[in-house]
């Protein structure tokens, strides 16, 4: 027995020894972390939290907000956004628009250089734009040049009917770029800050082969920062201020320190710990931080709405049933559940977007409001027309926190307000949900749409007949003709009249309850008090750090 005790003592000594080692290394760690934190706060690197890694640093391949933000950190296009989101000159020094609105001539500034010393020339834009429409590149955002930008021949090139050299963009000389359009496009300049239109130096691109945009060595900067540490899908990477940037005196930050954090608890703790200067906050955490003066909600531009399948579901082809569903929702309840600054929305175009197109949220209140009474009336009428007293509908929803929360509120309000209605919620992975909706394989679908360019058409263009994103398969010839008139027709140049016509189009969407708008999404964000001058935008580049100051 004594010997057993000895063995135990031995084991115990080992254990203590291990713990001892542990705490020793812990002490060293403490000094390192503190030291590290001290250096971090002393420099004026901005520590930025992002939720997902960068998907691509190839401007013509990237499609997600994070990638766009980082590309724009180190690349300037012809135009950039001012703090209100208006296009102002960047690489373009000046521009001229022909009287018919079909030709844009950009004069490029001569002091813009790539980080390898070569000048940024018109040829760089021609090369990049041709890539964007090249079927071999298969850029997902090629429609920015064709449908949206209306650049001559873009559509035919994408379809493989013409060679990419026939694209309506030419380098007249090194510093003159000429763009020809099919029809006048009122928002064309605002497309120029969209990363799909950013230049690439052909010689450099070719020298990188397949590795373009996968490391600091295979990226070139002509913008405010230079990428100095990065690998594909990196969880942390860094950019340094570009000393050779033509507007270098404007940039106050010494660099940008990006950190991918997918766990919201970790993100919040890291922010409170001082490791981050800006972070997103999850809806469940908002209560905890909402009193903090550093807390703010920032409009994200996304419109969340329910799309009823009018073609496949008999009940939903009935207008009264659709109006009942749209009016039975209390949108305030939805946004207070989300608790992240999202705004209740009663228009088909989201709020705080495109010169505040949807400023008047009561414009369509006769057909879209939180009005249980009206909803009940529509419902009764609808049931009568259908000759039934109960309806069961299935709603497909993304398998994510926010959509599930919203769906639960919708279900309970629909079922309380509309007697005889049963709503079944089916959650699906997002990709599956999108596929089901695109294939018309759904009854009700909770979906969202983010703006691609600064014009209400980025939303209203969706509901024309045969558009792939017209999930409800609704069709209305009057609506189609208004949209055509505003896209390629006479109204392209008459901006005020066009805006009025767009309201007419929106009225039809709302009258017919083509979609049930629910809310305009917002990002609950924490920004340190010593940081100012981050520009937030709902379109294209969600965050711009060129004017950011960290004291």
């Amino acid at each position: 027995m004594k010997k057993r005790i000895l063995a135990f003592v031995l084991a115990a000594t080992m254990a203590v020894g291990m713990v001892g080692c542990g705490s020793k290394s812990a002490d060293t760690a403490a000094t390192t972390t503190e030291g590290g934190a001290a250096t971090a706060s002393a420099s004026s690197d901005l520590n930025v939290m992002i939720e997902t890694p960068v998907e691509s640093l190839d401007p013509q391949q990237a499609t997600d907000g994070t990638s766009f933000e980082v590309i724009a950190d180190y690349t300037d296009g012809l135009m950039q956004m001012d703090s209100d989101g208006n296009p102002v000159n960047a690489i373009a020094e000046s521009y001229e628009v022909s009287e018919d609105g079909l030709t844009y001539t950009f004069k490029l500034r001569q002091d813009a250089k790539w980080s390898n010393g070569t000048a940024v020339t018109a040829a760089d834009f021609v090369f990049a734009w041709q890539r964007a429409v090249d079927p071999e590149v298969a850029s997902e955002y090629s429609y920015m040049l064709s449908d949206i930008g209306q650049i001559v021949n873009a559509e035919a090139i994408i379809a493989g009917e013409k060679d990419k050299s026939e694209l309506g963009v030419t380098a007249v000389d090194d510093y003159t770029l000429e763009v020809s359009l099919n029809v006048p496009v009122s928002y064309f300049l605002s497309l120029m800050y969209f990363p799909t239109f950013y230049p690439i130096n052909e010689e450099f691109f070719t020298s990188c082969g397949d590795t373009f945009g996968t490391s600091p060595e295979t990226t070139l900067s002509n913008g405010a920062f230079v990428l100095d540490s990065y690998e594909p899908a990196a969880t942390a990477f860094h950019l340094t201020k570009n000393a050779d940037y033509y507007d270098a005196s404007r940039v106050q930050l010494s660099g940008l320190n990006y950190q991918v954090i997918q766990d919201s608890q970790t993100a919040l703790m890291s922010y409170q710990n001082g490791d981050l200067d800006i972070t997103l906050v999850n809806g469940d955490q908002v209560e905890q931080v909402s009193a903090d003066p550093e807390f703010q909600t920032i409009g994200a531009g996304y419109l969340w709405y329910v799309s009823p399948n009018q073609k496949g579901v008999k009940e939903l082809s009935n207008l009264n049933i659709r109006l009942a569903l749209s009016n039975a929702i209390n949108r305030d309840d939805v946004t207070s559940q989300l608790n992240d600054g999202s705004l209740p929305t009663y228009t088909a175009v989201p709020r705080d977007f495109s010169a505040d197109f949807s400023a008047d949220q009561e414009k369509f209140k006769s057909v879209c409001a939180d009005d249980a009474e009206a909803a009940a009336k529509y419902w009764e009428e609808g049931l009568k027309e259908l000759g039934t007293d109960s309806i069961t509908l299935e709603m497909i929803v993304d398998d994510d926190d926010a959509p599930k929360k919203v769906a639960t509120v919708l279900k309970s309000e629909w079922e309380t307000t509309l007697p005889g209605l049963t709503v079944e919620i089916v959650t699906e992975p997002k990709k599956q949900r999108v596929q089901d909706m695109q294939e018309g394989n759904f009854e009700l679908g909770l979906t969202r749409w983010g703006p691609d360019y600064d014009d209400p058409m980025t939303y209203l263009g969706m509901w024309v007949t045969d558009c792939a994103n017209n999930y409800g398969l609704w069709t209305n010839s009057e609506y189609d003709s208004i949209i055509a008139e505003c896209t390629t027709g006479d109204l392209c140049t008459e901006l005020d009249a066009r805006r009025t016509r767009l309201y007419d189009a929106e009225q039809i969407v709302m009258d017919e309850a083509v979609i049930f708008p629910i809310y305009t999404a917002a990002n609950a964000t924490l920004v340190k008090a010593n940081v100012s001058g981050i520009d937030f935008h709902p379109v294209a580049l969600n965050r711009v750090f060129k004017d950011t100051v960290k004291q």
């Binding site: 135990f8 934190a37 608890q265 992975p429």
Partner: protein, 311 residues
């Protein structure tokens, strides 16, 4: 022994091939495709399908995949890191995951063994109860709870270790994730060691050894523990698999640039090639561990070695 090892290696390769086939079929049966985004039109999707050969019949795709894989080419990522070769994505990440996993196994096995030994030797005392409580907590609380708890206490409150993994300070960054990951292994090993040791200690040959007058240390370590180790090694192998699954969550919490976080992102975005490649690597590691365990048996227990040689 050699013949036995060769046989095991061949079986392992066969198993791996079968795994790829199953993975491949599963991925293509999975709902959605890598290219179901709101912004993608049908035409664009077709262009992308043909670009990546996804419009080919599945048999052709599979054949192509196996041929490429034999050349060490796992294909490219479709969306989590567009067009990046998978091998490049994994290269820098795998060592990080393996290192943390290794620390966790080491820590879990050692501490578990010690706790189990203490509990067995001090059976029915307060020490035993404490060890049992620790192991019950370790088994029943999921690793992400430990991870968050550690992150909050050691990282946030006391600032002993960095909360976010930093490649500049890999050793300190690995401490909290390793501990969080090791808890389950530790607890399982502790429980198992206790049971096995109690059984061995009560056996007749132990009584005989004791009555022969063997010293306590020799008695415990060379007679009791050695016999108790065999079943413990058997459970260690599946525990290493739990470790891999645990790492998916723990990597997310500590923002570790390992393969676990990569796999989670890939699954969510239907990035077929990444998912298949990583699952394949996980399976290969598991099979390799099982192989090692089989060989270890022979070393620890001469009876098994002799028995297998007789095959």
């Amino acid at each position: 022994m050699k013949k036995y090892i060769l046989k095991r290696v061949l079986t392992s390769i066969g198993t791996l091939l079968a795994i790829i086939l199953v993975l491949f079929i599963l991925m293509h049966l999975m709902p959605g495709s890598p290219f179901n985004d709101e912004k993608l039109s049908e035409d664009q999707r077709q262009v992308l399908y043909s670009k990546y050969g996804l419009d080919q019949p599945i048999v052709v795709q599979f054949g192509q995949y196996v041929v490429n894989m034999c050349k060490g080419d796992f294909g490219v990522s479709y969306n989590i890191s567009k067009n990046t070769p998978i091998s490049q994505l994994i290269q820098s990440r795998l060592p990080i995951s393996i290192r943390i996993g290794f620390f966790a196994v080491l820590l879990g096995a050692l501490v578990g063994l010690i706790l189990g030994l203490i509990a067995a030797l001090k059976k029915d005392t307060i020490l035993d109860t404490i060890c049992t409580i620790i192991s019950v907590i370790g088994v029943s609380v999921p690793s992400y709870v430990f991870a968050l708890g550690l992150s909050f206490t050691l990282g946030f409150k006391w600032k002993l270790f960095p909360m976010l993994y930093s490649t500049a300070d890999e050793l300190n960054s690995s401490v909290m994730p390793s501990i969080a990951l090791s808890m389950f292994t530790m607890a399982s090993i502790a429980r198992f060691t206790r049971t096995e040791m109690i059984e061995v200690l009560g056996s007749e040959y132990m009584l005989l050894a004791e009555s022969k007058g063997l010293s306590g240390r020799k008695l415990i370590f060379s007679h009791a523990l050695r016999n108790a180790l065999i079943p413990i090694i058997t459970v260690l192998a599946p525990l290493i698999v739990d470790l891999m699954t645990g790492s998916l969550v723990v990597e997310k919490i500590f923002a570790i640039p390992g393969v676990g976080s990569l796999l989670v992102n890939a699954i969510q975005s239907n990035d077929y090639n990444v998912v298949i490649a990583l699952s394949f690597i996980y399976s290969a590691m598991y099979i390799a561990i099982m192989l090692v365990v089989d060989i270890l048996y022979g070393i620890i227990d001469p009876r098994i070695r002799l028995g297998k040689e007789g095959d």
